[in-house]
Symmetry: C2
Subunit: 129 residues, 2 copies
């Protein structure tokens, strides 16, 4: 496969690109993460989101442990070619490690971050071995 | 006003936080940018998005030149407290400097970034003085 499309991305000095994951259909923004070249190539060829974990410094196959994989519907790039937008189908309906649909579950109200959505599944249940 | 909510954000070493802007109603992700503490405080108190331009190293009052301001509907934060999601009402219906609704106007198809949406207004018209 030609990798010209990968070369067109303006990677950070660390070789990463920020990625926004958005649920297809509802349009809900569920997650923000990073990819490196390898994880993006794997995402595209495999059809499921693979990120780069900056904290663990390794590939992060989303849903590997929880089962909540993200099937990729489309990959878009912004005008500056340095941010990606993933349209995904979230398996299990849970993107966040807290057991919620979206990681963006707190909204500013009167100067306080207030929870806006419920825990759908106990993380202890999601991540048990 | 208490600034506790600003202290809860995990700013980068450069004092910034990544921000996703999403059109209210349609849910379309239109832009990705950065804010520093001052620009976020100004956004919240003023009701219109003010970003931090990393290329120009100064406050960027979105729409100041084009008139395409972003009225803030809500501000949400992610589970790690290091990314913001802005629900906005895009004045003029154009977020991108190319004259398109969204900056994410190219989608990967068969290994090529293909344009997915039209220019609504000629940038030369948008940015003329």
């Amino acid at each position: 496969m030609s990798e010209t499309w990968l070369d067109e991305i303006r990677w950070t000095d660390d070789g990463l690109v920020p990625v926004i994951a958005q649920q297809t259909g509802s349009g809900k923004v569920v997650m923000f993460a990073w990819m490196n070249r390898e994880s993006l190539a794997l995402s595209y060829t495999g059809g499921y989101a693979v990120y780069w974990s900056r904290s663990r410094n390794k590939l992060w196959r989303k849903g590997e442990e929880s089962g909540n994989r993200q099937k990729i519907v489309s990959i878009s790039i912004d005008c500056d070619e340095d941010v990606l937008l993933l349209e995904i189908e979230q398996e299990g309906g849970i993107s966040c490690h807290t057991g919620r649909e979206s990681c963006f579950y707190r909204t500013l109200q009167d100067g306080v971050w207030q929870k806006n959505s419920p825990v759908l599944k106990d993380p202890a249940e999601i991540y048990k071995k």
